[in-house]
Symmetry: C2
Subunit: 205 residues, 2 copies
């Protein structure tokens, strides 16, 4: 069979549509007929290409998680000075999530539905979290007197919280603070610099 593909294959159209609908509605709320409509195909094709809803969902979920989790592991493992790590994490992570601001909520919500199941899928070998090096790095900076005493665990939580949560709570912040879409994006761009500055101000001696 020839491997030459013209424009979007049916499979690609399904995946693209499924991503849109699953990210918006979640597993429980998404309807196969809606995915088929979005892809412009007959619903039976979803089963021809992906067997069932669960299999299709898994592809989408793993792709989404594959965008979010390796990046966190990257700061764990990188050989860089601490402050640089913080700066590049914020910059890169916000850039990634800005391309699809609903990803974090989607992934976190599904993980909360069945943590063991979903996290085992995500961690199947490839994205195993390895925080030890990063946490040890923070301890070392404290011991060397370069930063104030702080628990590595809390520093990590603070970093990830400030970077990700505004996306999760987007409508709430928009309404609370009177931000339209453009303004929200602008604020998140600012945060690429604001968060590292805030953190470094908090821990620098």
């Amino acid at each position: 069979m020839s491997k030459i593909r013209k424009d979007k294959t049916t499979e690609e159209r399904i995946l693209s549509a499924a991503k849109k609908i699953f990210v918006m509605k979640g597993m429980a709320g998404a309807r196969m007929q809606d995915i088929a409509d979005e892809a412009g195909i007959n619903k039976a094709l979803l089963h021809y290409y992906f067997k069932n809803k669960e299999k299709l969902f898994e592809v989408i979920f793993l792709e989404a998680a594959g965008k979010l989790f390796p990046k966190i592991n990257e700061i764990f493992l990188a050989d860089k000075p601490l402050f640089e790590k913080i700066e590049s994490f914020c910059d890169e992570y916000i850039t990634i999530v800005m391309e699809n601001p609903y990803l974090p909520l989607f992934v976190l919500n599904e993980i909360n539905q069945d943590p063991e199941y979903f996290l085992s899928k995500v961690w199947k070998g490839k994205n195993l979290p390895l925080p030890e090096k990063f946490l040890a790095q923070i301890e070392e900076e404290v011991a060397k007197g370069r930063i104030k005493r702080i628990s590595p665990l809390h520093l990590l939580m603070n970093l990830i919280s400030m970077t990700v949560f505004p996306f999760v709570a987007k409508p709430m912040f928009q309404k609370n603070l009177g931000l339209d879409e453009l303004q929200f994006r602008s604020v998140m761009e600012q945060r690429k610099k604001e968060i590292p500055r805030f953190i470094i101000d908090a821990i620098k001696k």
Copy 2:
């Protein structure tokens, strides 16, 4: 009709069961039969007492939001020094959410499904966000030279992010950092003090 109630009325049992199921599964994933099973009643009673799924859901959602949103408005409006506000917000908010750690994710997820609809329900008069006073307070502290230059908006985002997000991402943090249930609770207790300390270290001159 006598208003004397013995133990749990049927209505109370429904509400209690509905809260459990809706918070766990969300609107889309919750099943009326599951709620009835949880309450130990016949499913038809759900409609006798609450007409339909949407009406029942709304009661639960508003109750949940009513736990989370007024507290945020409280820091906006309180006549207290800034640092005290930050300290008491973290302390009280974490205490509230610890009683039901899944509330933030539940409320935020539903709001993201239809922001206009849900936020208008929440803001129907009573919980209208009034951040101006708080934001002005931060500006004043900056102008008086008591804290470093910082955008009030970012400070507010940082405060709420660090307080709430660990609950939203609970399974992820547990897995990443090897925390069992007790340890997670202990970490969140620590954060009552750690977050204000971190923030104050970041902004204090």
